[in-house]
Amino acid sequence: MASVSSATAPAGVRAIGPRQLVLGGVLLAGLVVLALLPQYFLLSSEQRTMAGVFMFVALAQGWNLIGGFAGYPSFGNVVFFGLGGYTTAILMAKSGVAFWLALPAAAAVGVAFAVLMGLPVLRLRGHYFAIATLGVAEGVREVVVNLDGLTGGNSGITVPAVGAKAVTSYPGNTGFYFYFLALALLATGVVWLVSRSRFGYGLRAIAQDEEAAAAAGINTTRLKVAAFALSGLLTAMAGAMYAFQQVTIYPARLFSVDITVLMVVMAVIGGTGTVIGPVIGAVLLQFLSEWLRTNYTDLHTFIFGGIIIVAVVLLPMGIVSFARESWAHRRISLLDTIRAYRL
């Protein structure tokens, strides 16, 4: 009999059965639609919006690995975003490197920094870990600002996108739509594979009881750092693409705490430790954010803050878990959540 469990257990530990095939088919159809969308249905500006959505899917999935699966809530993941972006920008602007070489370089930087930072910082738990990562992100931002010979400091750095200096021709909105879509698929695919693997089980065990996990033979250090490295890889790649897309980047934007919080909120509201949760969270919140930005420009952040508050109070377990629980018990009750978590 298959294991029936709570949200954080993988659905895929069972063999691939008919249910999986149907889901797979739906997924494929969805992908085809997404691929055809820009050509036939979307304006250039809308493609840009979608690219933003895909980027956040990737970011949220990256966070999901360390914050959701391993249970280490990083509040500084944007540091990989910024490092990836700046690596790309510097390589392209100063050394005339093509984007397709800068991208893996950015990914490598992401992984390397994650390991470097992870080894000391992953020894901390909970709030301490969150703050330490936040501190590292802020610190790196300031260092980047100060190395203005290399990075252009607060004035930013510009990637040559047009003209003779442009090593790689600029893909335009449609191009970036597909780049980011590919990244989102990669990120989600990675999370899906992790969720079905021994690695994923190990991370979950670490998140639920690190001491017991260690006693069970799980090398907690190795797995935590690996999750962090994977997270750094995906986030850095997003940063690399972003830098190319934006052409001119600034430290304040590339290392912005807001980006970290956005990816955390998206992962949490969608459902940490699940595969589809961050996708839902990213799509929902990014569209919401865009809508607010266009219709309530001044109040945008104010309202967004309010939405975060409401979402956290009502759906702390995330939409996916909430849906599963409601389905399992055949009823919807937001009050149950509050009752469970309140003082």
């Binding site: 802020e138 919080v261 952040t301 104010f302």
Partner: protein, 294 residues
Amino acid sequence: MTQFLQATVNGLLDGGLLALVAVGFSLVWGVMNIVNLAHGAFVLIGAYIGWKLDSSAGIPPLLAMFVAAAALLGVGYLVQRYLINLVVNAPIWMTLLLTFGLSLVLVNGLVLLFTGDFRSIPTSYGSDGLTLGDVRIPYGRLIAFAIAIAFTLGLVWFMDRTRLGLAIKATGMDRGAARLMGVKVRRVYGLTFGIAAGLAGAAGAIYGTVDTFSPADAGGFTLQSFVIAVLGGLGNMWGALAGGLLLGVVQAWSGQYLGGTLINAVAFAVLVTVLIVRPAGLLGKPYYEARVEV
């Protein structure tokens, strides 16, 4: 040498005020294990209350800070009692996200009400000061320092000598046991948070007299509070004082010798190092090491 002395003195004076900013944050974290990302916003609200009372009603800042403290005490109590209490038993990043959302609301609320322009609160003594040898001590900073220390000492007295203070400490150590002893935990949490907010507000009102401020400063205050709380040990008020002074001096020195913009990097380097080497903070014994939650 004079520069060094001046920087050190400035650092100590600023540090005292930073300690007041941070002590409430440290208390809330130590007692309730809540990291309040909206703490900086409370400081700013206090500053704006001070500014508004001065510009609209001519109320001097030394009086306004009590108003700010009282107002934020109320706001803090309500926020904790009816909002944050709802997620206290959830995984920790819930309170982080909740308070972050709150800070967005509060900071942007301030922007909407007061715009992002820089403000400051004028004082009768302006930028006058006294001179000791080669070192200049502005009255504003000195008074701010004195008030901050007074408030901090007041908090220590309150925590050690009053029933409510003991109730707070007890709740921080063992929530379940405190409950069994008749402590109304929800209310105590509300009051603790309220006290923290009130102190932050007072600090903000005082801050407005020594430096310009704008809503964008909120994040910086929260971050500095982090560092100080960790340096001093969570919930340890003397630790917050020591941590504040230390951070003030370190920041002043970096400002002097490393150039302004690396201040945060240095603060965070200190923070991360302390966290890794000695998570209990500089003053060692964390108040709430053995925490039992019910």
